[in-house]
């Protein structure tokens, strides 16, 4: 199936005016969503928007789900019916949702230090508000930020990005339009250690192209990482700053640094 719209025009621009390796605008917001969560974050990659609320570690609702040596991570994902171009209601048992949930869970289970909270449960609620390609990428990035916001110990920030290939040229951070037409792969990296947390491919990709995309996505991961780090830093500095208020002149060295 070929699209009527050119994926990459002669000038080297994509349908939304980006260059090959250009990422979409990232917006990060930590304001609380839902009823009094322990941590939450909303991230938008261009027109894809995902909001995540984290509750816990807290007492497990079902005792059968607990582990005596670590916390249980419970992820629920829902996709708003109005999020895509075509209105579609997906129930809880929808195959696509189950798959995404499972992918998220296996991505974050090794990253969160669950052994610190035996018998507890960490609930992560993912709400997809807008879809324009790179859904998994946005879900992973938003979950990472929400977990950091909730003060849950993690080994590293997990940064995900989507890559695709158009004939022989690689593209990054695909929109829905590009994702429909191109072979694509989502890669989540942990930039500090350089480890890969996830590689997810739902289309066929030529083996010769894989290495290039893999390398590019790794690099793009560090760009997203710096963006996420900046947001976390800003939020932390803001909270620390406000916390100095009650101390008054007791900590004079601290205020001057801000």
């Amino acid at each position: 199936m070929s699209s009527r719209i050119e994926i990459l025009n002669a000038g080297g621009y994509r349908s939304d005016g980006r260059r090959q390796y250009e990422l979409r605008t990232i917006a990060i917001d930590f304001s609380p969503q839902g009823s009094n969560p322990d941590g939450s974050a909303t991230i938008s990659h261009g027109l894809t928007q995902v909001s995540v609320s984290v509750y816990g570690p807290r007492e497990a609702k079902m005792r059968s789900q607990t582990f005596h040596d670590r916390a249980n991570i419970n992820i629920e994902l829902s996709i708003a019916p109005f999020s895509a171009g075509e209105r579609r209601r997906r129930g809880k048992g929808d195959k696509r949702i189950l798959e995404l949930t499972q992918t998220l869970k296996s991505t974050f289970e090794p990253v969160i230090q669950t052994s610190l909270y035996p018998r507890a449960q960490i609930d992560i609620y993912v709400q997809v508000l807008q879809q324009d390609g790179g859904l998994l990428q946005a879900c992973i990035n938003a979950t990472t930020l929400a977990l950091v916001n909730a003060g849950i110990p993690m080994l590293d920030l997990v940064c995900a990005v989507t890559g695709g290939v158009h004939s022989t040229s690689a593209l990054l951070d695909l929109t829905q339009l590009e994702e429909n037409d191109l072979p694509n792969v989502t890669i989540a990296v942990m930039p500090r250690s350089g480890k890969i947390a996830l590689v997810s491919m739902e289309t066929r990709l030529h083996v010769d192209r894989f290495e290039e995309i893999f390398r590019l996505a790794g690099e793009a991961g560090t760009v997203i990482h710096s963006e996420m780090k900046r947001a976390v830093k800003e939020k932390t500095a803001k909270l620390v700053d406000a916390m100095q208020l009650g101390k008054g002149s007791a900590a004079p060295n601290a205020e001057n640094d801000y």
């Binding site: 009094n36 322990d38 941590g39 816990g56 570690p57 807290r58 007492e59 005596h68 230090q113 909270y117 035996p118 018998r119 507890a120 950091v148 916001n149 909730a150 003060g151 849950i152 110990p153 993690m154 080994l155 590293d156 920030l157 942990m190 930039p191 500090r192 250690s193 780090k229 976390v232 830093k233 800003e234 939020k235 932390t236 500095a237 803001k238 909270l239 620390v240 700053d241 406000a242 916390m243 100095q244 208020l245 009650g246 101390k247 008054g248 002149s249 060295n253 601290a254 205020e255 640094d257 801000y258």
Partner: protein
């Protein structure tokens, strides 16, 4: 003195602290010696694990101490810890907490107290009717629901920890026990620091209990003499489910204090008796009553006032 012109400040108004970059990490003999505030986030490499020990909020990988939460780096001699800026309540023995009964089990209650697991209140750790010190009987076990029922709020003290880290509470004091005549407000637990007394009486006829777990109970003022009852312990009063008659002015004062607390908490202002008193004094001078406080501009003005006075 600090001078806050407006609050919350625009984001670019924050000069971020000088964060030492990774290159300097090799020279860690003087790590954090200069006394500046250092922030960290998950995956941020702090120092070498040879020279320093890892504490809470950090882990060791590849001979480096690495932060696992976003917060402030603290160093005590050779121990490096990262204190998260926002987290659930971390209990310590002797802390005053407010909790809600979630379950009645054999000889114990389960109490939700904003911690990582529900706390336990043993039947042997509560004051039973008919004398402060007496053995618990089988009849007490059978009528546990007459003392505390599911959904009841109580104030208690952290007594000890079980092997798995669950906290055990006790209410063996006249100031602890079931809560009534008031309203619960929840704030992030790190906004409540350990104070000399967590029982605060405001002059407007409102009593406050600041639970270290971030739960705050705002209630009608009870006179010291009434609290103790006739023979020092009044079981009827302590385990009663009935509210006293509360007049309109007290109700208004309670909502006023509740709104002040939620405004201060939303601006991450740490709460203590002086801050609350100043905020209350300022707010009663304003027009519009308790509900006006929830407007953004009034709330911001409140925070600015509190900041300038402290």
């Amino acid at each position: 003195m600090i001078s806050f012109t407006s609050f919350p400040q625009p984001q670019d108004a924050y000069k971020r602290p000088e964060i030492e970059e990774d290159e300097d990490m090799e020279v860690d003999e003087d790590f954090m010696e200069n006394g500046t505030l250092k922030l960290a986030w998950p995956g941020e490499s702090l120092t070498s694990s040879h020279a320093y020990m890892r504490g809470h909020g950090t882990y060791v990988d590849n001979e480096e101490v690495i932060a696992s939460v976003a917060g402030i780096v603290e160093r005590v001699n050779k121990l490096i810890t990262v204190r998260p800026v926002r987290t659930r309540y971390n209990p310590e023995v002797g802390d005053l907490v407010i909790g809600r009964i979630t379950e009645v089990q054999a000889r114990r209650w389960k109490v939700e107290a904003n911690s990582r697991q529900d706390a336990v209140l043993m039947l042997s750790s509560v004051n039973l009717p008919g004398g402060v010190q007496r053995r618990k009987l089988e009849s007490d076990e059978l009528q546990m629901r007459t003392f505390f029922e599911e959904g009841d709020l109580l104030v208690a003290e952290v007594q000890a920890f079980f092997g798995d880290g669950t906290m055990s509470l006790h209410t063996r004091s006249l100031s602890y026990g079931k809560l009534r005549n008031g309203q619960l407000v929840t704030v992030p637990p790190n906004l409540i620091r350990r104070l000399k007394s967590h029982f605060i009486s405001l002059p407007c006829g409102v009593d406050l209990i600041l639970g270290l777990n971030g739960y705050i109970w705002i209630s009608k003022h009870v006179k010291e003499s009434d609290r103790e009852g006739e023979e020092g312990f009044d079981a009827e009063g302590v385990y009663s489910n009935k509210n006293d008659a509360i007049d309109d002015s007290t109700r208004t004062a309670i909502s006023q204090v509740a709104n002040i607390i939620s405004v201060l908490a939303s601006h991450a202002v740490p709460l203590n008796d002086t801050v609350l008193l100043e905020a209350y004094e300022w707010s009663v001078e304003q027009e519009g009553g308790p509900k006006a406080l929830l407007q953004d501009d009034v709330g911001d003005a409140l925070v600015v006032t509190v900041a300038s006075r402290s």
